[in-house]
């Protein structure tokens, strides 16, 4: 177990990177606390798998250092870093039984047979695969194969970190939920640091205590699921997390107030000074229909079960709202109100209001 520090990490797949765009990872400074459950969230191609492979040692970073506690492991190969990784597609050793698969990482490190047996039995019990131990692993279903891959990651009790690289991609939807809760439970039992890479916000938000959101090789925000939802540091986070994502609306800043389509909109707090393009960010959950507010025309109403997702047009800009109970019909004119303490201002994508205290 260890605290993992990434310091000034940059990586390029090109041998001679020239511009900033040549870097798959632009500048990463991050600390993963010992025993935490982390998720690395971002769209495909944002560099999250690159980052994972750098931590596991499958890839050497172009620049920067990786520390496990105070030890520099940047140049160590994967087998000397004491880490475990579970891949997108289940990796199992076809020729071996489930038992031998689970025992493999221990036997390779010369662990005594009695201890191997104890660990394998314990892990098999946690994963509920005890009755499969004698079977050839090749014949298992994909979700059981993935369980075995996870088991191989968890079987060593001295691992610094267990990493999951989109492990539920090949699992059937109804089993995804089961495996996800299993993982969460496992984390609580083994208390190892876990990093979970995914592009699925539900997976990230349910698994992790801390979510790291990445975009284009950069970390945009790190925080609890609640932080990310309530106070996105960047419009990308606002848009990427939530269903539907945050409304990002163009606005003018003048006379100390923010104006959207000519109407002043109250913000959560005073905006910082600066130049740049400004936008208002408000989650659809905090947009409501009121007696007073912005004039809007309802263009679309979608009933998604517990609530309605309503799209309305203010001038030529679309605003989404999540409404419960009675909803106006399509084509009707309404007035929209934004909840002030949830209305943020972004400048060039980054948050520019101070939180209301």
């Amino acid at each position: 177990m260890a605290q993992i520090t990434l310091s000034n990490l940059r990586h390029s797949y090109s041998a001679t990177p020239k511009t900033r765009d040549d870097y798959a990872l632009k500048e990463i400074d991050l600390t993963w606390e010992d025993g935490g459950a982390y998720a690395l969230l971002g769209p495909s191609g944002c560099g999250k798998s690159t980052l994972l492979n750098i931590i596991s040692g499958l890839l050497n970073p172009s620049e920067g250092r990786i520390l496990f506690d105070d030890t520099d492991v940047t140049s160590l190969p994967p087998d000397q870093r004491n880490i475990a990784q579970v891949f997108q597609f289940p990796v199992i050793y076809d020729t071996m039984t489930v038992y031998d698969n689970l025992a493999f990482p221990l036997r390779n490190r010369g662990v005594a047979a009695a201890k191997v047996d104890a660990r394998v039995t314990e892990i098999a019990d946690m994963l509920e695969v005890t009755d499969m131990l004698g079977l050839r692993a090749a014949g298992l279903s994909p979700d059981n194969k993935q369980k075995i891959s996870m088991g191989r990651g968890l079987v060593r009790d001295d691992v610094n970190v267990v990493m999951f690289d989109e492990p539920l991609t090949v699992i059937d939807p109804h089993l995804k939920w089961k495996l996800r809760s299993k993982l969460k439970e496992l984390h609580q039992r083994v208390r190892a640091t876990m990093i979970y890479v995914t592009h699925d916000q539900t997976e990230a938000l349910t698994f992790a205590d801390q979510v790291v959101v990445m975009q284009d090789g950069e970390i945009v925000q790190m925080g609890t699921p609640v932080d990310l939802f309530e106070r996105p540091q960047h419009t990308f986070v606002g848009h990427f997390i939530g269903s539907p994502g945050m409304n990002i609306l163009p606005c003018d800043l003048r006379d100390g107030g923010a104006f959207f389509q000519g109407e002043q909109v109250a913000l959560e707090g005073p905006a910082s000074q600066g130049d740049g393009e400004t936008q208002i960010g408000i989650r659809p959950e905090f947009v409501s229909i009121a007696d007073q507010g912005l004039d809007a025309t309802i263009t679309k109403v979608a009933d998604v079960g517990r609530h309605n997702v309503v799209e309305a047009r203010v001038g030529d800009i679309e605003v989404k709202a999540i409404l419960e109970g009675d909803t106006p019909v399509k084509g009707s004119s309404v007035k929209l109100a934004f909840r002030p303490d949830q209305t943020r201002l972004y400048r060039d994508g980054w948050i520019a209001t101070e939180a209301a205290s």
């Binding site: 190969p77 990784q85 990796v91 076809d94 020729t95």
Partner: protein, 287 residues
């Protein structure tokens, strides 16, 4: 409700005709010869299973069969491991991949009788590059036209040269289809290179290797042209493999009956071994 009719047979008919004329009818002719005796003039006498009994009891057949199994056993024992080793050593990406692949494929593109002739000239003691070098530069006596050991070394080497590429290409195809994640997981699990080979590469190559062994078994068991051109079965009978012996009986001595019986036995052995091997190799699949 589906329409039920018999039109489907018309679609199968061309294939049936094709198979009948290129396999079934010639085969039945052989069966026909194998139970009769002829002295020419298209006059035949019923012989029953006598020819089969004669062939199965004949020392000459036993000797040829023995040589055939020795030859096939030797080339499989060399070509399969060698092919795997070369495939493992080949680059996985970059400029050298096509170079290696094309170089590997070259021997297989040369016609069999040309291969035989090439190796014949190559090994002749007086004028052949290899033959001359061995005898006159190294001072090792090497003459495949006189010495049975030299003849065997030559036909085995020739087959290895000609066909190892097939094993290489098939193994290579098996190797490149293994996802990187397997190697990465093995690295993280601390697996030794031998474990990686034993538990990842070899199992993933099993299917292609089964095909490679099967193809090499059938081809080498039925080999005719190359040894015929190279040694003609000699010196003496030392490299008279089954097919060479068969042709001697059928066309040299014109004993059609025994030759027909021998081809059927020959065919049955090839089929039986191939079937046994394939069944054994695939019995665990799907479990």
């Amino acid at each position: 409700m589906k329409t039920q009719n018999q039109y489907g047979w018309y679609f199968v008919l061309p294939v049936l005709l094709l198979v009948a004329f290129n396999a079934l009818i010639p085969m039945m002719t052989v069966v026909n010869y194998s139970v009769q005796e002829t002295f020419g003039d298209n006059v035949f006498f019923w012989q029953g299973l006598d020819w089969f009994e004669q062939i199965l009891r004949s020392d000459r057949f036993h000797a040829a069969l023995g040589r055939q199994f020795l030859f096939t056993g030797l080339i499989l024992a060399i070509e399969i491991p060698l092919g795997i080793i070369i495939a493992l050593a080949m680059p996985r990406q970059g400029f050298w991949v096509p170079v290696c692949l094309v170089t590997m494929a070259l021997p297989m593109l040369i016609p069999w009788n040309v291969v035989g002739a090439m190796w014949n000239i190559f090994t002749l003691p007086e004028i052949g590059l290899l033959g001359y070098f061995m005898n006159n530069t190294l001072g090792i006596s090497y003459d495949m036209t006189q010495d049975p050991i030299a003849a065997w070394v030559t036909i085995v080497t020739m087959d290895v040269w000609h066909w190892t590429s097939l094993v290489v290409l098939l193994s290579y195809a098996g190797l490149v289809s293994i996802p990187d994640a397997y190697y990465q997981a093995a690295k993280i699990d601390g697996a030794s290179p031998w474990s990686v080979f034993r538990h990842i590469q070899l199992p993933k190559m099993k299917t292609v290797l089964t095909i490679a062994i099967l193809l090499r078994f059938m081809d080498s068991f039925n080999i005719y042209t190359e040894p015929f051109v190279l040694t003609g079965g000699g010196p003496g009978n030392s490299t008279t493999l089954l097919s060479i012996d068969l042709v001697k009986i059928a066309l040299g001595q014109f004993d059609l009956g025994p030759a027909a019986a021998m081809s059927l036995i020959y065919f049955a052995i090839t089929l039986l071994v191939s079937w046994l091997f394939y069944t054994l190799m695939t019995k665990d699949d799907g479990k």
